[in-house]
């Protein structure tokens, strides 16, 4: 049984922001509820008001002028079935197909996933590698946050208290831009996740973006590992993979817990990086 709360169902983002500003910690944005309701059931949080944001029409997927825009309220299911994404961002589709289980994918939203910032989550890691931009809206003003700057810590994002995540924007990848996301885990949530995006020009690998997630408190880009692969020929990049893996493992801020020992997770980061690179390069 949940504790009693009041449901608010505003019609605009401005109204949501106003409610959040007015009620502060006593109110919370409620979308699919697949994370929020769990911690409410546990009694770890309680709110006087839940603000239902599913009536704002923020679940569209569009592509225009080289940008793919995902509404924050798109469910994982809507993303995996999207013809636009299947064509433009197949790596994201594959990720979304494998989030949790079919029931969580049905109700859970990409925005909710990102904003709850549970460490053992998938989308954030790949969105970072894909150079995504998140749009934070408070009705009177909006701002853009790079995905790589969005995650501050476990369960903590750089959204202000009265901001609503409304859109996720991704650059439409060029023909020679490849990406891959691999994860590993044997518990209910993933233990390690690695994303890579790169451009292939003949033999040259360039503009490499690597992100690691799940192992530590928040997903991170790993510039030092990227430098070992970027602007290199395929052979040289392959030779550097092992070292890049070690660096990425350390950068993941892995901590020993039920998901695995620190050194184990760091090792898995290296393994997944190698495989993700090979999947991307083909």
């Amino acid at each position: 049984m949940l504790r009693r709360f009041r449901l608010e169902e505003p019609d605009s983002v401005a109204e949501v922001a106003e409610l959040l500003g007015r009620f502060g910690d006593a109110a919370k944005v409620y979308a699919g509820g697949t994370e929020l309701l769990l911690v409410m059931k546990e009694g770890l949080v309680q709110y006087e008001r839940l603000i239902n944001v599913k009536k704002l029409g923020l679940n569209k997927i569009t592509t225009e002028n080289g940008t793919v825009t995902l509404g924050a309220l798109c469910t994982h299911h809507e993303l995996e079935k999207s013809a636009i994404l299947q064509q433009q961002l197949p790596a994201l589709v594959r990720l979304e197909q494998n989030v949790a289980n079919v029931r969580v994918r049905q109700a859970g939203t990409i925005g909710g996933n990102l904003c709850f910032a549970e460490p053992h989550a998938d989308p954030g890691t790949l969105l970072m590698a894909m150079g995504a931009t998140l749009v934070a809206d408070k009705g009177t003003s909006r701002r853009e946050i790079l995905a790589q700057d969005f995650f501050v810590d476990a369960y903590e994002t750089s959204l202000a208290a009265d901001e609503v995540l409304t859109e996720i924007r991704l650059p439409r990848p060029a023909e020679n831009r490849k990406s891959a996301y691999l994860k590993f885990g044997y518990l209910e949530r993933p233990s390690v996740g690695v994303a890579i995006a790169l451009s292939l020009n003949g033999d040259e690998v360039s503009d490499v973006k690597i992100a690691v997630g799940c192992a530590g408190p928040a997903p991170k880009r790993v510039a030092e590992a990227e430098a070992l692969l970027s602007g290199k020929g395929k052979q040289e990049a392959s030779r550097n993979l092992a070292q890049a893996g070690v660096i990425a493992g350390k950068a993941s801020q892995a901590i020993s817990d039920l998901h695995g020992a620190q050194d184990y997770k760091e090792h898995i980061v290296g393994v997944l990086l190698k495989r993700a690179y090979q999947a991307a390069v083909g």
Binding site: K41, N101, V102, R103, Q106
Partner: protein
């Protein structure tokens, strides 16, 4: 008929009009009420079970507009204007659904606890994909856990039902 789980002074209630197993229902719920509790305790349909309570096991699976959800983690008011199916609504006029028949014929259940969720989830699978490969079936059914059967008979049951359902469409 307007009903409610419990009233608390001037507690907020929401009118919920929805189709339940093909019939119109109109109830009042408080925002915090969970769908599983409303369906089991209030509407008396106890096929869906509270098991893990964290959306992992699938024993509470219900279909909303034909799609599987965890009733344990769905607020009851969310079914406003939608159609809900529970296991009790699968058989029509006493005639079992091919999935139910297949689970019986192929031994797809032992204790039966996971079975309502299993059958509803597999119905959603076959509605989406009438001819799934075993990999596709396993992927879809990944979130429905069974402690008894070891899954082999469940897979056989679903595949058999799928074949029968495809055949009867010819």
């Amino acid at each position: 008929m307007a009903t409610a789980m419990s009233r608390h002074g001037d507690a907020q209630t929401l009118p919920v009009s929805f189709t339940l197993n093909g019939r119109l229902q109109e109830i009042d719920v408080e925002p915090h009420e969970l769908l599983l509790d409303v369906v089991r305790d209030h509407l008396g349909l106890t096929g869906a079970k509270r098991s893990c309570d964290v959306e992992v096991c699938g024993a509470c699976t219900l279909l909303i507009d034909g799609r599987p959800v965890s009733a344990c983690t769905t607020l009851a008011f969310e079914v406003r204007g939608r159609s809900v199916m529970t296991i009790e609504g699968l058989a029509v006029n006493g005639k079992l659904h091919p999935l139910q028949e297949a689970f019986i014929e192929h031994g797809g259940f032992q204790c039966g606890f996971c079975t309502p969720g299993m059958i509803l989830a597999s119905k959603a699978l076959l509605d989406e994909n009438p001819n799934p490969s075993e990999d596709e079936l396993k992927h879809f059914m990944h979130g429905n856990l069974c402690r008894c059967t070891g899954y082999k008979k469940i897979i056989e049951s679903i595949m058999a039902a799928a074949k029968k359902m495809r055949g009867s469409r010819a």
